[in-house]
Every structure is written in structure tokens, then in C-alpha cells.
Subunit: 212 residues, 2 copies
Amino acid sequence: MAKDNGVSLSVIKRLPKYYRYLESINDRGIVRVSSKELSEITGLTASQIRQDLNHYGCFGQQGYGYNVRELMDELSKIIGVDKKYKMVLVGFGNIGHALYKYKSFQDLGYHIDAVFDLEAREANENDPEIVSIEKLPDYLKNNKVDIGIISTPKDASQEVCDILCDGNVDGIWNFSPVDIKTKNDVVLENVHLDESLFTLTYFINSPEDFNF
Amino acid sequence: MAKDNGVSLSVIKRLPKYYRYLESINDRGIVRVSSKELSEITGLTASQIRQDLNHYGCFGQQGYGYNVRELMDELSKIIGVDKKYKMVLVGFGNIGHALYKYKSFQDLGYHIDAVFDLEAREANENDPEIVSIEKLPDYLKNNKVDIGIISTPKDASQEVCDILCDGNVDGIWNFSPVDIKTKNDVVLENVHLDESLFTLTYFINSPEDFNF
DNA sequence: TAGATTGTTAATCGATTAACAATC
DNA sequence: TAGATTGTTAATCGATTAACAATC
């Protein structure tokens, strides 16, 4: 089956997980893997894994399974991690600071080109130059930016989101604990730490609710 | 309908969102809200909201809707944010640092009591005391800890997880980009930043895949 | 070839939505 | 009372799992 559009969100959310496991299998030098083996290490069913992958193509071979390296490469193309991405970071508080320093993303080809906050500040040995948020619209006019990261306080995030959308970013990675609205088809992905902690809290208080 | 166990994960994951919106409605001084109004601001259907809430009780009133303050209080009890939580942070890298400084959680009653990392270090004006990870098992023996936060490099996270589980934490909030396994019924909640960024990347490259 | 495992269809299961009687 | 809106059941929709023919 060829590439199929309209893949459901549930499937899409599992792709990074497949990629991650394949990477680690590949790192261990393993060459082939079956959906059954993948099932055992991911905890998903073999059936689901095969069906998920078949939304994008026939990557396996009957009687053999999947070539690890090959499937990994296909997934990297499907997800888009085979490309490089230019990012700007808006909000240099605690989270923003951590994201800026986080090496793994840079290694994967995601690079933060500029950092914006309320107060401009020169670069020093620890931190990058902080550009005044007022200059963000101009920056976006003059530089193609793929992803805007929002790590501002929640009161500012919708406004920043608007600026980023008007500046034609392709996607927004939002860390502020509110639901913001994008326009011009800008893709939004939220990391709601508060919701995550609350979900954890819920289960801590309701151990009987495990119905997995 | 009374409290109903075996609520599905989808429902549970929406509770923090309800709480967040109710909080903001309450802050604006609004006293009553209908499922229809909640539907408009959350983007969920009124039917779903009513059904979700009815897993836990009958909090509304026909012809009126819900009392904002009352529903908020109920939700805070359901989620468990009405209580205080003692946490330890393991791994004082970029993310760990950010989480330590993040004020919002403290205000909500989540407090980081101790920080562990490979190298012990005295407290200074910016940072807390860092205790050697070797002392973590003893610490857990002598202090009740509700939640362990893992923000170590991925190679260390399963080991840290084991120590936390043996030390009888109730839940683990994992920021390392691997799937770890808990034991002794310890609840696990992952924040997989890499997966989140990859999902964003996917949609950036497949704008046609919006089927919401 | 025989064994293994895929790709894909059909069956099942669960979650969401629609509808409406109950009732404030 | 009349209007509004809940709680709850029934209908629909979608996602997961099971099964198996195809085939390496």
C-alpha cells in the first residue's frame, strides 16, 4: 500500500516511539527485526505495529521481517527528522534556558538561531545574545524560521504565537501552560507540564484506576 | 452516578484541562458555566464534557449548569491537587535545573525537598545543595517521598527508577527520553520532549494530514 | 520446500456523539 | 410555568486486535 493521507493522530504519535526503539536496536548492531520482536520491546501489539507502518508503505518482507536500518531511514523521512530545522526561542526563563542548552536536539539537526525575551542582553560566556522581543517581527521577515518555541509566561504566549504565525513559521512548540491558537495553518504542539504532573497525581491517588 | 472506577485514560487526561479552564473562568469572577460554554472554550463537545464529569459524580444542575467554584473544587479533589506532595529531583542538568526553579509547581503544593546528582555540591546563592546519588536509597528510607523526578541522561534513568521504586515513592515523573519500567505499583508519567518535537516535525512536513 | 512473517481484510472493542427524558 | 441544561442511554464512529492468504 502506498502513502496514505489522513492517518490518525494515534498512529502519528506512535511513530517517534518506533523511531526511538529502532535507533537503539540499530545501535546494538541488530540488522533485522520482526513486528513480533518490536511488539515485545515496545509493549504494543505486533498487529498494530504492522498496521501503523503500512499506512506509509510496505517496508517489510514476508518470512523475514524488517531491515532495521532501512525501516529507521524510512521513518526518519516520514517524520521529517532527516531534515534540518531553524528555530527561534521566545522566553528565556527556566524552561527556555534548559531548552537552549539541551544538546540532543541540536545533534538531531534542530538549531536555535536566535533567542528573544523582554529585555535585550549581550551574549556572555554562559548565555547567548538575548534579542528584544520587539525585534521578533523584523527578524522573522528577514530570516526563514521553521519552528518557534514559546517558553514565555502564560499571559504573553498568545501574543507571541500571533507574531510567530504572522512571521510564517511552520510550527510552534509551546511550553506555556495554556492552549493557544495558531493561524495560517501553523502547526502547534504543546508540552503541558502542568497537565502531565496532574495526570501523575491523579494516578497516585487512584491506584485502583489502572485499566491498561 | 457515584464515583466510578475504571475510567479510561482518555477521560483522565482531559481532567487537568478542565481544571485549568475552570481556574481561569473562576479567576474572571464567573460563577456558573454550562457544558455548552465549556465546550466553546475548550473545543471539546458538550456531550463529552458532561459524560467525563459524570464518571465522578453529578456536579451540575438541570437548567443551570455547573457552579464554577464547586466544580473546580471537586476536580481538584479528583485529581488530587488539593494535597501537598514531597518530591526529589534526580539529575541536575539543564532540565533538572529548570524544574527546580519552576515556581508554579511549588505554588500548587509540589515541593522538591532534595536534589541528587553524580557529584555532591554545597548549596550556593543560585543553586540548592546537590546530594550524591549514592545517598538516595538512604534518603528514601528516612524520608517519605511522593514523587521522584528523573532528569538524568538516558543511560542512568532505569537504574534511578529502580532505586526510587525500591524506596517506595508513589510516582515517577520521567524526563529522560526512554521508556523505563517501574515496579511495586509505582505510577509512571513520561514527558518525552523528543517525541513531542518529532510529532511537530511530522505535521510540519505533512500539512495535508490534518484530520481533526 | 517448509517455516516464518508480512500486508490486509474482517471482527471486536472502546470512545465519542447524539438524543432525550428528567428536573431545576 | 416555560426554558434551559443536566445525566444517561442508545447510536455512531474510529481504533485496535485477530485472522489468514500471500509470499519471501
